[in-house]
């Protein structure tokens, strides 16, 4: 029986095991790369034609980096890999009994399936917040946020109503993880170094940057020392950090906090959490905590022999150090991707599987110019050296040599010029709001 169910995808059956990978994030990329040279056919599906380096999206949103430096076309990455096929399309459904998936461009059989579909923003059911907030999960989000930040300042020039002006100049960031902390820091640098030159007519002291975190500390995945230092850095820089505070509601104008306080802002950026983005068709009972798919220690989806899930969308049972699942960051996804590729190859060659053990390389976050916090294996340091380490590690991790070079030049440029050259509004009309609408 031919593996091709419809002719739409036009991927020939080469008589080799076919491994279909859903999603080209950090995990999916590693699966594809690690299968190179094995006697298999690899098919990657993604909604975009490029990988996105998510950890630097916040720099795109704050005009520090051009979009193109942090994305890499899949076809460029895997152009030399034999028996690799990329298809631009959205996977709609898995049919595990018949071993095929349905996508926006047709259906295709698999011998092994790897679900690496990542995570989406979690608004915890607050649909009004979702409607009005900005999110930061992909390059379109980041560009829209960049457009919005600049446009708010342009609009602020046009009003003499103090409340409206403040609603345009104030920014509320929800979530004190790395994204929230880094975004708050980067916005503060815009406020300090760029906006005073661009908007001489505005009083920049009026621009408030709020960072809201529900738990009593920042950077929960890191050491207490890192969290405390990040708090100190941000507070010194003028960010208003609200710890132990949650957002109760947001109507696009008024933010109501759990302590009853109200903030007025047209810009609420939601970086407070993610949830898994599983694909329909699996047994619903295994979609568990945080909307993630339960997997065994080989990343095999519970109850299925030839379906694997890795990274943000997977939650592994049996790792006693991580009873709630591994952190939803690049390193677990990459390590799992690598091992899954190896284990699929082991299955094919009828060798025993190797269980996953997470190797914690440490974590880090940057707060601003010369300011970062780093935890590596019990070693904790903060400040300018941490900032160099952060830059080096991120530069090395960006996918594609050209992207590394261009990002390096952009960072040097920004550092020495104190400038952010990408403060561009490049969008369509439908993104514009009219000033008359700013006050409800």
């Amino acid at each position: 029986m031919p593996k091709l169910i419809t002719t739409r995808t036009r991927i020939a059956d080469l008589g080799k095991p076919r491994i279909v990978v859903i999603g080209g994030g950090f995990g999916g990329l590693e699966v594809v790369k690690s299968l190179k040279g094995h006697h298999v056919q690899v098919v990657l599906f993604d909604k975009s034609n490029h990988h996105t380096f998510q950890p630097l999206l916040y720099q795109v949103a704050t005009s520090g980096l051009e979009t193109n430096s942090i994305v890499a076309p899949f076809r460029k990455l895997f152009g030399n890999q034999a028996d690799f096929y990329f298809r631009l399309g959205e996977v709609k459904n898995i049919k595990p009994e018949e071993n095929y998936i349905e996508t926006s461009i047709g259906s295709i059989k698999y011998d092994y399936l790897v679900i690496a579909s990542g995570a989406t923003t979690n608004y915890y059911g607050m649909s009004e917040v979702e409607k009005h907030a900005s999110s930061m999960k992909n390059i379109v989000d980041a560009t829209k946020l960049r457009n919005k930040i600049i446009r708010q300042l342009e609009y602020a020039l046009l009003t003499s109503d103090d409340e409206v002006m403040n609603s345009l100049m104030d920014f509320v960031i929800v979530g004190g993880g790395p994204t929230g902390v880094e975004l708050a820091g980067a916005l503060t640098e815009l406020k300090k170094n760029v906006f005073p030159k661009d908007y001489k007519e505005l009083d920049m002291r009026q621009m408030d940057i709020h960072l809201i975190e529900a738990s009593p500390r920042l950077l929960n995945g890191m050491s207490d020392q890192a969290g405390k230092k990040a708090f100190d850095f941000l507070t010194e820089m003028g960010v208003k950090v609200h710890l132990g505070t949650a957002v109760k509601s947001y109507d696009g104008y008024e933010v109501v906090l759990s302590n009853g306080e109200k903030l007025i802002s047209r810009s609420l950026i939601w970086a407070a959490g993610v949830k898994g983005n599983p694909i329909d068709g699996l047994n619903a009972e295994i979609i568990t905590r945080g909307n993630r798919i339960q997997v065994d220690q080989f990343n095999r989806v519970k109850g299925y022999e030839n379906i694997f899930a890795i990274g943000d969308v997977a939650v592994m049972e049996g790792d006693t150090k991580f009873p709630k699942g591994h952190p939803q960051m690049a390193p677990p996804a990459q390590q799992q991707g690598k091992l899954v590729a190896k284990n699929i190859s082991n299955i094919i060659r009828k060798k025993p599987l190797k269980p996953f053990h997470y190797f914690d390389k440490g974590s880090m976050a940057t707060i601003g110019r010369n300011k970062a916090v780093v935890d590596i294996k019990g070693i904790r340091f903060q400040g300018i050296f941490a900032w160099y380490v952060w830059m080096f590690v991120h530069l090395m991790s960006i996918v594609g040599f050209r992207n590394k070079v261009f990002t390096f030049f952009s960072w040097m440029w920004n550092y020495f010029s104190y400038d952010r050259s990408n403060r561009l509004i490049i969008g369509r009309n439908e993104e514009k709001i009219m000033l008359d609408e700013v006050k409800p």
Copy 2:
């Protein structure tokens, strides 16, 4: 009486003459720059917050340059210029009797008005062509075209119907001026160097690039020698050049040519002409040939004392060498912008005005790697040296030092790697077409 008619724009009356400039293209930019240091207030209105270097839009569309390298934020360009105000907004109407303009963000009085609103694509009344064609006038157009070119190839992978596949792989460029010639060349380089690696499953010999030109030659603004050489270069590279041929109709699938020939293509790129983009409110009789505003030899709009028009939107009477108006390119706009700034200053200081004389610096076009044509003051040369000259001149003309550096690196990268790293689809869902729609 205060100059401020509504409070929306919030630009204070400084008691100095106020010069309002509409449009920050090559002409408008020169007006603003040249007014620096004069005792005047300058207000620039533009629909975008950045200047666009239009001559390189075709490189964005063909994945050679990142968008950010050819745009420069106005606030960055003029951040140090005293009494300069930028406003992001669209000018709707001129009220010449009362000396004010109406814009999307309110109205404002002027003492002197400079209309530098440029040109838009001219479809010569063919509304069906307009509906289905891609244009190349701004950064959103260029990005949409880039997305479309790549997406067509992705879709071509999905069909086994020969006609549908050809409709997706064939490109029709209309207009044999610099834009059309350069785009045809750049597309051919993608076909030769990039697509065969990216789309191994497609037979690239099937990809046809047609260039349609109504007149009997290419590059009408240049020497016969340049036109002939451009034709030879393109023909050698495999472009199908149709001279003396016009497009009669296009329904999104079938192109009907004036000689009765039919081409099948889902991608028709219209670079066949522009028309002036004047602002409503002027005496309709002075909107003349090519929708351009009649101006005298001082670029003063006919019948008005304090309104000037420059560049693509203006047509000057009395220059015997250019009875149909100056060419709609950067140099006349820049030279007129400079002189208008000087002449406004002369009016204020009650000095005599200087008439405009166009200084023709020559013109050039690039066809591909090591291939360009250059005409400078009777000197004509083509080939690799012309290509170096083209690159040097364009690099020097790009606005902003950082943009020059980044463009230079991109060009070096592309040259030595034979690669185009920006082959990205970064867009929204509404741009997508479904494969089922490709065959009408």
